[in-house]
Amino acid sequence: MTDLTGQTLAAARDGLRTKAFSAAELTEAHLSAIAGARGLNAFITETPDRARAMAKASDERLARGEAGALEGIPLGIKDLYCTEGVRTTAGSHILGNFVPPYESTITKQLWRDGAVMLGKLNLDEFAMGSSNETSHFGPVTSPWRKRGGNASLVPGGSSGGSAAAVAARLCLGATATDTGGSIRQPAAFTGTVGIKPTYGRCSRFGVVAFASSLDQAGPIARTVRDAAILMRSMAGYDPNDSTSANLPVPDYEASVGRSVAGKVIGIPKEYRLDGMPAEIEALWQQGIAWLKEAGAEIRDISLPHTKYALPAYYIVAPAEASSNLARYDGVRYGLRVPGKDIADLYGKTRAEGFGKEVRRRVMIGTYVLSAGYYDAFYVKAQKIRTLIKRDFETVYAEGVDAILTPATPSAAFAIGEKGSGNPVEMYLNDIFTVTVNMAGLPGIAVPAGTSTEGLPLGLQLIGRPFDEDTLFSLGEVMEQAAPKVALPERWWS
């Protein structure tokens, strides 16, 4: 039998329909891959019993010819998505024993379409981080290593477990979330494809909130087609999310393979940073050449407020986080540390329940929202957000269809490498991705090559609002043109 875990999601879907293997066999192969990869720490909770039961039900539906779009496909779920009856931790001690009494809209739609849940994937605590090192459940080790090295590298974050599990072939695809780059940066670090859809495209209902005006759910998968297949099941209007867009969901897979001739691709000069590694610049030029060869028109553009996106993000995101995380008070759910009175209980619970990075961001957020500072920080940052969005609207109005940029300023780094006293060092990882969240746009990260040390590097395409279709078409063009990079050998089992 073929390697059931090494195939694409699309191939597995077809194999299930032609009865080349059963959903039970496919799930069993992934469960044993997971059992052999515990050293990577990609999963916080494994759900083998549920997976087997779901696969069995899938086989029954396949036999009856009632297969859903994702029938029998084993997926990993970022542990930020509430799953009814299955512990959902958000990577935090404060939710360490939280068992949701309800299901997130997105996972509900995945199960509706026949997908199988393998377990809950590790992440930075409350999705706050770029390396998966802030998780209460320990860091995730990337399946990738530098050529000739054996140091443990980060898979990126916050969706580090999702990216690592997909790259290590522990699941055929995974859900993820992206507030400042948390889908695209780990996808770039692990040679996988990740798309952050337009704000409002996927429901946020039942996804633990970090920064509500920036959070958006999306998939990580091994190919552009696989990501498109997952997106169709994840997207859609949900009355339970008041910011959900009431628009029909296109057949994203139909965009994969579509010609991109005549598409206008903007190259923003502000993304050319001082001191950017030569290999990132070369990769970007390579991407430009690929799209040009495919018939796209390349146009130099300017997005003048780009450099202010990251500092403005570090006002908006912590402000919203401090408000969202106020609910963790030791009273209604989660950890409780007893205190002499209610205020003491709150303070002790939150000091013990939140990790260092979360405490820091809640405090920054509290400060920028406090009396006397609200206008100087929060309102100003929201005004800058208007300017950032206007930059994009201007170039789109001038006929640009999508924008090509690097996904990250470097390849993956080692665990512990960026643990200095200055948190800003880690924040700079999101320099190319955060503008997209600030403007609510869709962005996809696609593997495009490798660093001199043999690590994956990705390029990012930014689209018009609700035009994920074009990103899938362009992404696949780059995927086809890029050198084929084999996923890492299984050194971990």
Partner: protein, 95 residues
């Protein structure tokens, strides 16, 4: 803009996060590093610019004023660290 140690303690109180005295200098340094980073925004002229209040242009939808979920007190209380007779239990608030 930077914060002094008294401000760090005040923020911690507002955020309801207990902070020990030996954590204060460290937190002060980290918060000031972030504030120095965001100070770059000072150079942007935002006069006449409206703050973004909605990411995508949309009106907030309204729903009918009816009960859509209810009668699930048991499910609501299931994760409570302490509950009794259908209530959350907290330390005495009023003396």
């Amino acid at each position: 803009m930077s914060v002094d140690q008294a401000t760090v303690r005040r923020i911690a109180t507002l955020a309801r996060i207990a902070v020990s005295e030996d954590e204060v200098p460290h937190l002060q340094g980290e918060l000031n590093a972030i504030l120095a980073f965001v100070a770059e925004l000072d150079e942007v002229d935002v006069s006449g610019v409206e703050p973004m209040t909605s990411v995508t242009p949309m009106a907030l939808p309204l729903r009918a004023d009816v009960v859509t979920a209810g009668g699930i007190a048991e499910a609501v209380l299931r994760n409570a660290p302490m509950s009794e007779d259908g209530y959350f239990v907290v330390p005495k608030v009023i003396e």
